[in-house]
């Protein structure tokens, strides 16, 4: 599903790569000390920052050039990026629309996370906002999930919901997650940076 070849990211003082990675399905736990480039790597894979060299392909398409390929990536950044003036429901509806899946319904997942749909993101707690970003990232069923420190700040019940979801979909999704310490969900592979 996602193939990274010779990827280099030069971002500020960071010089990352060249790096190769191929993941058809399963969960990869990306580990490394602070500043080793985990976040930059995920952001480059999600086309959120430009890469300096190499290629990234999602189902054979470059997400930097192809909007459809970007739509197949669900990215939950470490710091919230969805506009704070949106409500929880508006956030996932917007992402489903952007991924051309306006029929996608996130209410079940939202309820499982115990999120109020009318809650404005900028008035939500850190954990609630993180859960809202997860629901928005999953909107439209992207095949690749990039989770950057997503499980931090999420309550126990929320972690259980997310881990159950990841476990259930490990056969049909490519998931790369960063998390300091032991992965809360059993990884199929561990990649260490730095």
């Amino acid at each position: 599903m996602i193939a990274v070849t010779g990827l280099e990211v030069h971002y500020g003082a960071l010089r990352l790569g060249p790096l190769d990675l191929r993941l058809d399905a399963g969960i990869v736990h990306l580990v490394g000390s602070n500043g080793t480039g985990k976040t930059s790597l995920l952001r480059a894979m999600a086309a959120a920052i430009p890469r300096s060299a190499g290629t990234v392909e999602v189902d054979g398409h470059d997400p930097e050039r192809d909007a459809t390929a970007r739509g197949r990536i669900g990215f939950v950044p470490a710091a919230p990026e969805l506009p704070g003036f949106l409500t929880v429901d508006e956030a996932w509806r917007m992402m489903a629309d952007l991924r051309r899946r306006p029929d996608w319904d996130g209410t079940e997942l939202r309820d499982a996370f115990d999120l109020p749909g009318a809650q404005r993101l900028d008035r939500a707690s850190t954990g609630m906002r993180r859960k809202a970003e997860v629901v928005a990232a999953l909107a439209g069923d992207p095949t690749v999930l990039l989770l950057d420190e997503t499980l931090a700040n999420i309550d126990v019940r929320g972690r259980e919901v997310l881990c159950e979801w990841l476990d259930r979909h490990r056969g049909d999704r490519a998931v790369i997650l960063t998390h300091h310490g032991a992965s809360p969900v059993r990884p199929d592979a561990v990649v260490t940076l730095g």
């Binding site: 990536i73 990215f75 990026e81 506009p83 509806r93 917007m94 629309d97 952007l98 306006p102």
Partner: protein, 402 residues
């Protein structure tokens, strides 16, 4: 102590005492916040009165059809109330008002007790409403104060009060004012619920129609939830102005020149598209054009154009309602200028944000807008080159968005 509206224990203080207490606390604040605007209004009136026969205009307004007077009264109350929401929020939720919420009085009494101070920011509205006559002016002022208070509480009752103000013309003004006073209870409840701690739930229907509309909705919601009064004003004022100016042109200009007049009116609002996109960039802190969004460059630019064109919608509507756009060709010229302004704004914004993350307006976008307005006003033959300019700007924007 929980705030439970009219459910309270203990002796109820006399409402007159509450009014006196609140007046002592709030009236100075109301005066100091209202004074600059009121003085500016007085100055403007003194200047304009040298050129315009106000009593004559008042006679004309009062002789206008009932629908026109109703629209004027309603618009005055809505604009006056929404325009001074900032003052109302300070009055209602500022440190000097804090003790008021703990007073064990009923909802209607609470709203009434605030009345003395709340009426002061509505005085300029009342002065403008004198065109409708003294009694309607008082009714409109009272209802504008209620619109402002309800608006500060983010309550939909603001629209009810504006609707009531629309009926405050002629002999019904007294009845409208009485109906407004009878609704003090819901207003008081809205004030209690709308306190900053209350955080009323936000419910908006999300139209699910694909990526372009999703981005436009996001931008509009951001503007509406950040600057509701400004957005409400933009939805009304430019359209009414365009309608009035177009009507005046129709009476004074030859029919052959009316189409050029329409173009000039649209061009006069040339800064709105660039200002709107700049405001959206500020609200969304650069995330507006985030690289990772799963949309194509074309969709990105279409969404920007949609957002940029929105503030020109009321202007074009005002011209069309005036019925003087000079046929289909005139309508095409008006639409072309609007499209050019939006395209240039989008291209300028993308040019700026792709180079560095700046949230302010775009100077060359402003200059280009003025230039386009001048060119468009010169001749009807400018329409094809303008369309080409619009296409060029849009293409440039698509390239930058990619």
């Amino acid at each position: 102590m929980p705030l439970t509206g009219s459910k309270h224990k203990g002796p109820r203080p006399r409402t007159t005492h509450v009014i006196l207490l609140l007046s002592r606390a709030l009236v100075p604040t109301a005066i100091s916040r209202t004074m600059p605007g009121a003085l500016a209004l007085l100055f403007a009136i003194s200047q304009v009165s040298a050129m315009v026969d106000f009593p004559g205009v008042a006679v004309q307004v009062q002789a206008a059809p009932i629908g026109a007077r109703a629209v004027l009264a309603g618009a005055l109350a809505l604009l006056g109330g929404l325009g001074s929401i900032g003052t109302y929020r300070v009055l209602l939720y500022g440190p000097r008002a804090g003790f008021a919420w703990r007073m064990p009085v009923g909802d209607a009494a609470l709203a009434g007790a605030f009345g003395t101070a709340l009426l002061i920011p509505a005085v300029p509205t009342g002065v403008c409403a004198l065109l409708l006559g003294p009694i309607p002016a008082l009714a409109v002022m009272l209802l504008a104060a209620m619109v402002g208070a309800a608006g500060a509480a983010r309550s939909p009752w603001a629209l009810v009060f504006a609707g009531l103000a629309a009926t405050a013309t002629g002999p019904w003004a007294v009845l409208s004012a009485l109906a407004g006073v009878a609704l003090l209870g819901p207003l008081g409840r809205a004030l209690r619920d709308g306190r900053p701690l209350g955080q009323p739930a936000v419910r908006t229907a999300w139209l699910r129609r694909g990526p372009v509309l999703a981005l436009v909705q996001r931008d509009v919601l951001g503007l509406w939830r950040t600057w509701p009064a400004t957005v409400a004003g933009l939805a009304v004022v430019p359209g009414v102005l365009a309608w009035l100016v177009q009507g005046a042109l129709h009476r004074t200009w030859p029919p052959s020149a009316i189409s050029t007049g329409s173009v000039l009116i649209v061009g006069a609002f040339g800064l709105l598209p660039a200002a709107t996109l700049g405001a959206v960039a500020k609200v969304e802190r650069g995330a507006q054009l985030a690289r990772g969004l799963p949309v194509s460059p074309g969709e990105r630019v279409m969404a920007l154009l949609g957002t940029a064109l929105l503030p020109l919608g009321p202007v074009v509507a005002g011209i069309l309602v005036a019925g003087t756009a000079n046929g289909p060709l005139g309508a095409v010229r008006v639409a072309t200028v609007a499209l050019v302004l939006a395209s240039l704004a989008a291209a300028a914004l993308l040019g700026r944000t792709t180079q560095r993350h700046r949230e302010d307006l775009v100077s060359h976008g402003i200059a280009a807008s003025v230039f386009v307005t001048l060119v468009a006003a010169i001749s009807p033959w400018a329409t094809p080159p303008l369309l080409a300019l619009s296409a060029g700007a849009a293409t440039l924007a698509v390239r930058r968005a990619g």
